[in-house]
Amino acid sequence: MSFISLLWVLLLGSLLGLELIGKVPPTLHTPLMSGANAISGITMLAALTLIVKAEGNVPLLIIGSVSLGFALFNVVGGFFVTDRMLAMFSRKPSNKK
């Protein structure tokens, strides 16, 4: 993949991000931040790549593994905590009735 096309990807991705968040009710600011935060843990893919390509280089394997750990901490924790918050909103209607 050439650098130029990667730049295009970056540009279009940013525009998509700007477009996606239009009007957000204040109620959802915290969960949205936390959910988006979990997605930024996508670097776990980079960490995986690093480990796969390490070819027996132990220091590199360790760096990759630690990086993967940090990323997954971010991803798993982020999604769980967001779900916990959102669960409190969604049980509301059923309680009302």
Binding site: G13, T30, S34, F73, V81
Partner: protein, 479 residues
């Protein structure tokens, strides 16, 4: 193109689509929970796609599997445990911590690639050959380090482990930070010139820059900072995407980065602060001691819980203004009991939620939702402000700056211009508060001096418990 490449391409495309739908759905109350799960699914899909791709092409060595499994298990386990255990009140610092770790991950990837140029592989993986790779490694390290140290400082400040040191409020901090920034730039150019060892200089100074930038920022502005750091971690992920040549990382990182910026902007608007003043203005309290805004209280009326209960019983309409103090005291459930009693007596109860009530926008909504407060009773500031003149009693629980009339009346006040709740328009205002200490901004609250305001001193939870007792004695809420 062989089969693994095609499969990975399709999976990546699908993952991007699902992630976009996830972010979109997260901005609506109804779809938010499903959207969160959709995004989580998309993330796991992308992992499967990547692993399948490597299995189908270069293969994955046993040794690599071992390290993958070790890293995954430890990271996921700690993440899951923390996410389950953490109380809802410390949500802002939790998000900050997760965010910082995301930044750390990007930093480590770039560092790993920089120190150990990977040989072989399907793609051309010799990194230090092209300028682009050096730039993306530098950006990834720079942004990743700032995200990490900045988030950790933000977390420590919110937890109260770290206070704002005095020197950070003077002009010295700008000088210090500029030095760090220039040093990172020097390290960056040195790196491009082929001096690999300057990568450590870059790591160190950008880490220091992250600390130096976050440390002076006052607690009230912390949500904005966390949101901004969240945006940074997206940018760091995108930069890491350039490092390992992954479009998926670039798209997802860019989406989070851009969405984070918008969210930061929305939050700034809610607090009527510009991003520039949040980042470079220092904390509000520092400004207030400089201006003459402090001063003494002259006309404080304090009253007992009993009086408060009597007034509440006679009211027709009550507005509750919850703040962070309520969250700290874990009193949201007790509050719910009080309001239930009032409602049973036919009193209209509404909660006025300031956009930045709690420590993060929407934080108070989460806490009240946890206590089973019906969603319809939570009113946003613009909706509820015209109602105050027709309100009998306002209960201010652990909120301070967001009900300070100074923000409207006193142009010399540092709070001036911040949108506030007009509680003083109500017939009676009860402020439940532990003592006369100032709010997060450190500014005197003129509300407390007003004749229609009475202070009920005590811990929010204890006062509310006493209130339940008093209301019971008055026969409120028993049919």
């Amino acid at each position: 193109m062989n089969l693994p490449v095609i499969i990975k391409f399709v999976i990546d495309l699908l993952a991007v689509l699902l992630l976009a739908l996830g972010i979109k759905g997260l901005s609506k109350v109804k779809s938010a929970r499903d959207a969160n799960r959709l995004a989580a699914f998309a993330m796991s899909l992308s992992v499967v796609g990547l692993l399948a791709y490597y299995l189908g092409t270069s293969g994955i060595a046993i040794q690599s599997w071992i390290w993958i499994i070790i890293g995954s298990i430890i990271g996921s386990l700690f993440g899951a445990i923390l996410a389950k255990k953490v109380p809802m009140t410390s949500m802002p610092e939790t998000v900050a911590l997760f965010n910082g770790c995301g930044g750390m991950s990007s930093l480590l990837v770039a560092l790993g690639v920089a120190i150990f140029p990977i040989s072989g592989g399907q793609e051309n993986f010799d990194f230090f050959k092209s300028l682009i790779n050096e730039v993306s490694i530098s950006v990834s390290i720079f942004v990743g380090a700032i995200t990490f140290t900045g988030s950790i400082v933000a977390m420590a400040k919110l937890q109260g482990w770290l206070s704002t040191p005095g020197w950070t409020q003077s002009k010295v901090r700008h000088f210090v930070n500029i030095v760090f920034a220039v040093a990172s730039l020097v390290a960056f150019f040195d790196l491009i010139n082929g001096n690999t060892s300057s990568i450590w200089l870059l790591v160190i100074v950008s880490s220091l820059l992250g600390i130096g930038v976050t440390l002076p920022i006052g607690g009230a502005d912390m949500p904005v900072v966390i949101s901004l750091l969240n945006s940074y971690s997206g940018i760091a992920a995108a930069a890491a995407g350039f490092v390992v040549d992954s479009q998926l990382l670039i798209v997802a990182g860019a989406m989070v980065g851009a969405a984070g910026l918008i969210l930061t902007q929305v939050m700034c608007k809610g607090m009527n602060r510009s991003l520039v003043s949040v980042l470079f203005g220092g904390s509000l309290s520092a400004q207030s001691t400089a201006s003459s805004g402090s001063g003494e209280y002259t006309n404080i009326t304090s009253c007992s819980v009993e009086e408060c209960a009597l007034t509440l019983e006679a009211a027709n309409k009550v507005i509750i203004v919850p703040g962070y103090g309520l969250a700290v005291a874990q009193a949201q459930h007790t509050l719910r009991e009080v309001t239930k009693k009032l409602e049973q007596n036919g009193i209209e109860v509404v909660y006025a939620i300031h956009p930045v009530a709690g420590r993060m926008p929407g934080h108070m909504n989460v806490l009240l939702a946890e206590a089973d407060v019906p969603y319809e009773q939570l009113k946003e500031m613009d909706v509820v402000n015209p109602d105050f003149p027709a309100t009998d009693v306002v209960l201010v629980l652990g909120a301070n700056d967001v009900v300070n009339p100074q923000a409207k009346n006193d142009s010399s006040s540092p709070l001036y211009g911040m949108p506030v709740l007009d509680v003083q328009e109500a017939r009676t205002v009860f402020v439940i508060k532990r003592g006369m200490s100032a709010g997060y901004s450190g500014i005197k609250n003129d509300l407390f001096d007003l004749p229609n305001t009475s202070m009920v001193f005590g811990d929010a939870k204890k006062v509310l418990n006493d209130l339940i007792g008093e209301l019971k004695d008055l026969g409120v809420g028993e049919k």
